[in-house]
């Protein structure tokens, strides 16, 4: 579904991504694991058209995305939940969801999608009139993911959904991701929280200093001693 080939991203002289190739197949959940500054967000932002790649190709269903303006991406079926969530903090939960539904290709099922989002995140239904910026970090993450779902995407890009969340809230968010995935959505997520991610994902790529240093199925990576040492805190889960 998505094929990233030989992608490089530069910020001035700094090479954030160096010749990275990643593939995501339809229905898969693919994780990009790596430490701070490994280039995970650069990869997701390049696919999400928030940063311009220096070189490489982005193929989505055979269509080249690397020159597509950012605002047209969501209409082609890719929804991004960026680092920092990118919600509208001074608008209500309901208004955030409505804005999310504007680029949907099929506007007839907006009501259905809203029900689905409310079923996955019941809090968003309870607090529909609350100003999004006054909610807790986990709830704001739910607004961000819920809003992305409102656009009826085929591919959901998530940048560190667990960042800054308490462990119990992270569990809640990951449980929601499991449900979303159960609905047949293809997901690519970037995470530092390797344990929770590998428990849920099909495959993962390991990113270090802007390069892909390993990849495999989640179950293989969970038992790989090098991965256990680097990402899972030494003891196999």
């Amino acid at each position: 579904m998505l094929e990233v080939r030989n992608l490089s991203v530069r910020y001035g002289k700094h090479l954030a991504l160096d010749d990275v190739s990643v593939t995501v197949n339809t229905g898969e959940m693919v994780a990009i694991l790596g430490a701070n500054g490994a280039g995970k967000s650069s990869l997701l932002n390049a696919i999400g058209r928030r940063v311009q790649a220096a070189s490489g190709t982005l193929l989505y269903r055979g269509q080249e995305l690397s020159q597509l303006p950012q605002h047209l991406l969501v209409a082609s079926g890719i929804a991004l939940v960026p680092e920092g969530r990118g919600i509208f903090p001074r608008l209500s939960v309901e208004e955030n969801l409505t804005l999310g539904s504007l680029p949907a290709r099929d506007k007839r099922n907006t009501g259905q999608r809203r029900e689905l989002v409310h079923a996955i995140f019941p809090k968003l239904a309870e607090r529909r009139h609350q100003i999004a910026g006054t909610m807790s970090g986990g709830e704001q993450q739910m607004v961000a993911i819920g809003r992305a779902l409102m656009s009826d995407p085929d591919l959901l890009l998530l940048d560190e959904p667990s960042l800054g969340l308490a462990p119990i809230v992270t569990q809640e968010v990951f449980a929601a991701l499991a449900r979303i995935r159960g609905n047949g959505l293809t997901i690519m997520l970037v995470e530092q929280n390797a344990r929770a991610t590998l428990a849920l994902a099909d495959r993962a790529y390991l990113l270090e200093a802007g390069r892909v240093t390993g990849s495999g199925t989640a179950s293989d990576l969970r038992n790989d001693p090098a991965v256990v040492n680097a990402f899972l805190g030494g003891s196999a889960a």
Binding site: P69, Q70, L80, P82, L91, T98, L102
Partner: protein, 287 residues
Amino acid sequence: MTTLILGLVLGGTYALLALGLTIQYGIARIMNLAYGEITLAAAFVLVFLFQAAGISPLAAILLVGPLGYAIGWALYAVMMRPLVARSGGGSRLEVDSILATFGLLFVIQGLLLMVFGSNFTSIAYLDQGISVFGVTVALNRLLAFAVCVIAGGALTLAISRSRWGLVMRAVALTPSSAPLVGIDVNRVARQAFALGSALAAIGGTSVAMYQTFSATDGVVFTMKALVIVIMGGVGNVPGVLVAGFALGLVETFVATMIDPGLTLAATFAIFLGVLLWRPQGIFGRRA
């Protein structure tokens, strides 16, 4: 009572003018110092249409409003777009746009002086008085007031209730998030700038209906609109409407009770007071 009603009429014009300026600044992020020139140009066009072509001012509004929109659209495309592209979304746009529109101010003013001359201009249109709550008010003022209330009210409703308004508010509040939901920020900014120009033009037609004006008055309109925007809180539509009426009332009060020469001084005294004690605006919230 006379002061109150005349003040409300003046305030209606001010509120509409300030609404246009705050839309341009809040959504397109352009502080347009040539704003009052658009107002004046529209006022002159209305006078011309009335005197030379015999078109009634009410019909002229239907012509001048869309014309203001088209001119705003063209100004944005030709003059502002390169500045926006160069700023890359940074704060440089604010400085650049102030300098660019400051220049535009003198270009339009020069054109107005050349075409319409430097004389004071006014028209005699529906100036018979009618009685409102026991006060005699010229019909043209009431009409101008109605125009402002209808245009301003419709727009305020559209911004707070409609889907289009939601997109406008989203761009005004968090432009960086807008592309994530498929909003083309540049397109919305151009629409907002054009809409602001249309409001400036409609405000100008209401000015022409009951005031005397000259080609060099534009800067006064810009400054008053700016004072109101800052009083109401930048980007705060209800705040701007209330502040607009408040300024109209204060000016009329000062002119009738103290001295007509002091109206501008009163305006700027309020402005200074707001800047010193409540920089977020009387009705604005703290950032």
